[in-house]
């Protein structure tokens, strides 16, 4: 493990930002710390950077304990949430700052800065000030400033938060590619699951100062281990009980279940494709239809419970109040130990994935 945190605890007054967090990150990986606001993810990043002091616990970078080592001696590059670019310095001076502080030779500084400028594709803008740059360009400069001194570890605090939605997508791909190119071990903090899924190799999910689950994006999506993760990742609906649904009669009563839109199918009763599965359907009423750009998000009321499904724009139009057949393929059921996937019994033997 290249970066290790062992049993990190941190309190701000009565608020526990980290309750004994332990994790390890391999060299060269791009990891996302994902969690809702107040989950302690930024605090953890700042503790790792040395901008915040942990109450207890150890931090190891490359096998060496860095507890008490000042921030500037940890070999860490940090990209701040709003970039914190030096407003009274040009792009060139911003990128050169960390090198000047290290007392690097002037000639080498010039070489390194121009290397950085061409890496981020801002040639010709070296003499501009941050307020003469667009949001995306500022982020690029902040990135270049952080990696110019060749840090062993790059930390990014909500790197896309200050950028408008349109540019954000483009920058995600850009940042991922840059980090690949530079090959630096990186950790970034985000509250946006799409961002984490798209950019990171590994995702660490934090909630209320606890590490809930770690794993690859697909792993976390397919096998959530706690109710929190199941609800947080993907768009999920929580059901009080599954026992009312056909095919789930033997599910333990009183246990909560979580259903994703892709676990639910809704169709009109004269549908040809699903007519062989009519024995397994429940009947529901369309309560709400929301346009989501490339699909409809349809909320249905089934047996007094709400289910959500996504409907392709290519399919027939439906209306609020319409009766529809609702098929529930599977659901996550949680007990004390973790999540279990429950499949619809009536669909046994049916190749659902081929539908």
């Amino acid at each position: 493990m290249y970066v290790e945190m062992k049993n990190i605890c941190k309190k701000f007054g009565s608020c526990e930002a980290a309750k004994g967090i332990t994790f390890g990150i391999e060299k060269g990986k791009l990891t996302a710390l994902l969690g809702p606001s107040g989950s302690g993810k930024t605090t953890l990043l700042r503790i790792l950077a040395g901008l915040e002091q942990q109450d207890s616990g150890d931090i190891l970078i490359d096998g060496k304990a860095v507890n008490g080592v000042p921030a500037n001696e940890r070999g860490i590059g940090f990209v701040f949430q709003n970039y914190a670019l030096f407003r009274y310095m040009t792009v060139y001076d911003n990128i050169a700052f960390g090198l000047k502080v290290k007392k690097m030779e002037k000639k080498k500084i010039r070489e390194r800065v121009s290397e950085m400028v061409s890496l981020i594709g801002l040639e010709g803008l070296e003499k501009r000030y941050p307020d003469q740059l667009s949001g995306g360009q500022r982020q690029r400069v902040a990135f270049a400033r952080a990696i110019a001194p060749k840090p062993d570890l790059l930390l990014l605090d909500e790197p896309f938060a200050a950028i408008d939605a349109k540019v954000r997508k483009e920058l995600r791909a850009w940042l991922k590619e840059m980090i690949r190119k530079v090959g630096v071990t990186s950790i970034f903090v985000t509250h946006d699951q799409d961002e984490a899924v798209e950019v990171a190799d590994d995702i660490f999910i934090l909630n209320e100062g606890n590490l809930e689950q770690t794993g690859s994006p697909k792993d976390i999506y397919k096998h959530p281990q706690t109710p929190f993760v199941a609800e947080f990742i993907g768009t999920s609906t929580v059901l009080e009980s599954l026992t009312g649904f056909k095919g789930f009669e033997d599910a333990a009563p009183g246990k909560k279940a979580i259903v994703r839109p892709e676990f639910v199918e809704a169709f009109k009763s004269d549908n040809q494709k699903f007519k062989s599965l009519l024995h397994a359907v429940e009947y529901g009423t369309v309560e709400n239809i929301a346009f989501r750009g490339s699909y409809w998000e349809v909320t249905l009321s089934v047996n007094g419970m709400q289910l959500t499904t996504n409907r392709s724009l290519e399919r027939r139009d439906i209306a609020v109040g319409e009766k529809m057949c609702v098929l529930l393929y599977r659901a996550y059921v949680f007990d004390g130990n973790g999540a279990e996937i429950r499949k619809n019994k009536l669909l046994e033997g049916v190749d659902i994935e081929a539908l």
Binding site: F80, A84, F86, G98, V101
Partner: protein, 281 residues
Amino acid sequence: MKKQSNPIVKWILIGTSAAFFLLMLVLPLFEVLYRSLKDGWELFSSALTAEYTLSALKVTLIATVFALAVNTLFGIMASWLLTKFDFRGKNILSALIDIPFSISPVIAGLAYIMTFGRSGWATPLLNQINELLGTDLSLVFSVPGVVLVTIFVTFPFISRETIPLLNTIGRDEEIAAAQMGASGLVIFRDITFPHMKWGLLYGMILCAARAFGEFGAVYAVSKARGKTFTLPLEIDALYMAGSADSITQAFAVSSLLVCMAVIMLVLKNIVEYHGKKKNAI
């Protein structure tokens, strides 16, 4: 959409304020210039080159330079301390800086007399220091006394300009610089100072303008005409002498202060303009 206001109301307001400014500010100042030149150029120039006037000008400039130097240094330190650090009693310290704004300058002068005057508690201490160093320093009824009270009354001007400026800018840039390993001095020189320089200059101009014109506090600790009098005190002395000539002379010396004030006003506006341009993002 902008709400269309009644043009009559607008012109009444403009007219009233213009009349008010004219009556209360411009006419009296014009009167000063008029009266000072009324009896001819010769009397005017002789008033300006009189021994007392030159001495007063010298004392005023000394007090201003010292007040400016001390308060600039203090203002930078105080605003740095109050915006970049968190500590107990920060709010109290912040409030204390404003004392000279809320206390009448005469009280400040009297307080100095009570402290450093003949029966003041600090006088034995001062005497000991004088004995030790072989000096003859006195802090009341002397030029150093004038300097001290001027420093006192102009104390808050600079920090009051720079503190809000540094507060709105926040600490992010400094934290970023420190994270990269910059020393405190480098951070101040390269990051903080460029942010505060226009506010600092603006505060210094206000401070200088106030130091020129201070009357009450200086009046309390300065009693020797031709030695420790500043320009405002000299004007008062000339005016109080009561003869037609001396009153004209008082106006002549006043016109000097008015000119200094106008210069300060112009400088202030230039600095303000630049400061706004630089901070607008």
